[in-house]
Symmetry: C2
Subunit: 529 residues, 2 copies
């Protein structure tokens, strides 16, 4: 596991809490100030006196970056160390950051009589009042926040130990101008929600949207975490599955937001699979013309696909996702713990989207999926984590290049023109989404071949991997005519003509290629007849 880094003002208890927490976590403890002293061969006060603050900061940054190259440590860093952006980025990279907070008077009380702190001279109160505000704004960016006032160091250590993510954190940035946010991967992530929502501007009134099953499993942990952050959470239940994505269900959610007085200081949390994320995201996009929301996907499909990119929406009786918005979340929290209860069928179905991402954008991932098949199908935790991480990274990259879903993002639709039509024709739920997409990719692959775009080897490689993951076990029985009719209703259609994503090679998709109608028909026949 990666490092845990403690930050906070002088006197917030980093060293004392750090030692106790290190024992609890069975981690080696690094007090960064001690490293600096060892490096310089003299105490901090002498470094300041003899070299000046600039030189101290340079030593501090050097020691910090060196300490962060170690793994599995608990590192307490000096009050000023997280301030330079370069230090801050290094502190966050792969690590969990815990901020210890205390109010001004408490800090002054604790620091009275301390003699070895050059920044607090000559007058303690003036020094604290000068330094505290700007430093606090950095500390509030920590993943976990603990108010230390009135608590013993041991109580603070116990509090943190109970809330720390279990396996470190991975962060993947989604670089959308004006809507930059992170996807965070780890285990036991609920305690990160509160600080995250506060950073997004929430001051209170958070509605956690979920369904009965997910809510029963994870609702309490999420609620408790938000409660601790003073965000007055309330849980709202949607019907399970596609049933949730209806106007009357959305209307009820709006009524709840109204009844709870959710204003622009409020926020939503989508705790569940793709349907929960779609409805919650759309409600967040449209409530008071947009309030913040966080995606907490609990299925593999939602983690690797639907929770990233801000596509939200509901269905109408006449079609899926006809009403919606592109609206980015403030953050996506992928808690891998949540996957433990995921059914085998849902897990496998989601792997179709992982394979799709590899096919259109990441040939090395395609190879890796072939090599690691057994471990991935056995759901070895490290491999599952890697599957999520790599898929999220692909999707984040593609989405950032086309945030409004107006162009290049369409390559993610590979396999979906026929996939959606299969689901539509056979009735939703007959085939799993992943199977429908797998067969859709087979048709798109064959069509790419017939259109002279790709080689038979590419089509064969795709078929082998899909088959290896059991995604082609059940061949759908459907009439070609019905399928063609259904495809004309695709959301990506223009003037009734579906727009295809085809393949030149693995990692080389192409969108909007004109195709011959007879090629479409023979691709469908060839794959599905």
């Amino acid at each position: 596991m990666n490092n845990v880094v403690l930050i906070g003002f002088m006197g917030s208890g980093k060293s004392s809490v750090g030692q106790l927490l290190a024992q609890r976590l069975k981690r080696a403890f690094i007090d960064l100030d001690e490293r600096i002293v060892a490096d310089a061969g003299r105490p901090v006060s002498r470094i300041f006196a003899e070299e000046g603050e600039g030189a101290f900061r340079a030593r501090e940054s050097r020691c910090l970056l060196r300490a962060l190259t170690e793994r599995g440590r608990l590192i307490a860093v000096g009050g000023g160390a997280p301030l330079p952006d370069r230090n801050w980025e290094a502190i966050r990279q792969g690590n969990c950051v815990v901020g210890l907070l205390a109010d001004r008077d408490e800090l002054v009380r604790r620091l009275e009589g301390s003699t070895h702190r050059p920044l607090l001279e000559p007058d303690l109160r003036t020094a604290v009042d000068t330094l505290l505000p700007s430093r606090t704004s950095r500390y509030l960016q920590a993943d976990l926040l603990v108010d230390t006032a009135g608590r013993s160091c041991d109580a603070v250590a116990a509090h943190i130990a109970d809330r720390l993510p279990l396996e470190g954190l991975d962060r993947i940035s989604v670089e959308i101008p004006g809507s930059e946010h992170e996807v965070i991967l780890g285990s036991r992530l609920a305690p990160l929600l509160g600080p995250m929502l506060r950073r997004a501007g929430s001051a209170g009134g958070v509605v956690v949207v979920t369904d009965e099953v997910v809510g029963a499993a994870h609702g309490d942990a999420v609620s408790a975490a938000l409660d601790e952050s003073g965000l007055s959470p309330h849980i709202h239940f949607l019907p399970r599955g596609e049933e949730a994505k209806q106007l009357p269900v959305l209307t009820k959610l709006y009524a709840e937001l109204s009844a709870r007085g959710i204003d622009r200081a409020g926020a939503l949390v989508a705790l569940g699979g793709g349907t929960v994320g779609d409805v919650t995201g759309f409600a967040a996009a449209t409530w008071l013309r947009g309030i913040p929301y966080v995606q907490m996907p609990t299925t593999l499909l939602a983690m690797v696909d639907s929770s990233i990119g801000g596509k939200t929406g509901i269905n109408l009786p006449t079609g899926k996702n006809l009403v919606g918005a592109v609206y980015q979340p403030a953050a996506v929290l992928c808690d891998l713990d949540h996957l433990r209860t995921l059914s085998e069928a849902d897990y496998r179905s989601a792997l179709a989207e992982v394979i799709k991402a590899a096919i259109v954008a990441d040939p090395p991932l395609f190879q890796w999926l072939a090599e690691m098949r057994n471990g991935i199908l056995n759901r070895e935790p490290a491999l599952v984590g890697e599957v999520v991480r790599r898929s999220v990274a692909i999707k984040a990259r593609i989405v950032a290049a086309d945030p409004g879903d107006r162009g290049s993002r369409a390559i993610l639709n590979y396999g979906h023109t026929v996939g959606h039509a299969l689901e539509r024709t056979m009735g939703y739920g007959t085939l799993r989404h992943g199977e429908a997409v797998a067969w859709g990719m087979q048709v798109a692959g064959r069509l790419s071949l017939l259109s002279g775009l790709c080689s038979p080897d590419t089509v064969q490689a795709q078929a082998s991997l899909l088959a290896a993951y059991g995604l082609l076990d059940r061949k759908p029985r459907v009439s070609g005519t019905d399928l063609l009719a259904a495809m004309r209703h695709d959301k990506k259609s223009r003037q009734g003509e579906p727009r295809w994503v085809l393949l030149r090679d693995l990692g080389k998709p192409e969108f909007g290629v004109p195709v011959q109608r007879d090629h479409v028909e023979s691709a469908i026949d060839g794959v599905l007849a």
Copy 2:
């Protein structure tokens, strides 16, 4: 009236059509090529031969810019003249641009045997094929487009004369990154819709949303114009007024879009007042996660306020505009003709928003409104146009500085904290919106004074102007307690506390100022008791 400028490829008929059209419009005709020849003292072919194309283009630009300083002319410009961006901006500025189109074979036929065109040598077909595509993409940016194929020059001239805006065009840019668009002011603007929607990406399937009254007055003109552009329009009627802004009404509109097969090549047109614009804009924002729409406001209030800035939304039984989106239109067409049928009461009520805009952002407009009161209340067309133009310019500037409505745009809410609460308390429709805002500004002004922000002179100036426009004739009877309770529900509230826009002086608003509760109470008492 400003100039009309004819653009098009060589052989599209600019000179011949231009002369006939000039007679019809009783305008002086300028053939730019003749001006260039006169300027150079020799024919175009000799300028090319002796000075080269670069020198010709420089002469052309100079003659063009000079001709455009004249007023009320019909100007036909050479095929290459609109290409440089600087020329193009000058051509559009305040003028109406008409593009004459013809397909390649037709152009070749017309140009065969012509000898004085140096760009077409040595081979006519090759020259046309080389020049036509890039030039056509400029011509398609004209306000009006006419296909000249198979029509006599006189028929083309008659066609244009019947469709040209009657009083020239004013264009005001709304500079929102990624959503730049224009507000166009003029008379008889429906014929501009088709080319505008095509530029926004529409290829067919346009639903014009309106109400029975507005639809009866203007629906046919809009439909006919869209039909001519091949955009298959369909008219959808909403209930009139605030009744339209309900979920069931929106649901019906979605059903219509579904039934008409509106895909991403489709578009919506909001033809009506603020409620039509709000519902249509929200439907456009959410249909297939966003399709283009054009605002055609038909009331003064919609022109100066609600159609600009992309605020869209519907009401819930529990409050106004609780569900919505910020979604910019592709364009706003303010057809001043539509104001002729506006009721006196609606006209006056809208002037409250004009006065508000002047108070928060344009002290010279405030003075002008005071000086021109009689003419404005008598609805003198030139003054009404000026009112719209100046109000739109203010709103466009404020909106562009805060497109997402997250900060500075809030100054437009001056008078609305109490205004909305008055409407809510007394029942919508009891007071006109403008009156409610006028009384709201009176309370906000008094509160600014009590909070020590502004001088009594400022409050007095505001009161005089509002009274001069008859906006304070009816004092609302309402209990202060009810009003305070209603204010807590304001959409701009955070954690139940309304956030005030106050005034330091005319043109110097301030948002989010903390106020003392007893000051709020005495401001309400002082103004309304």
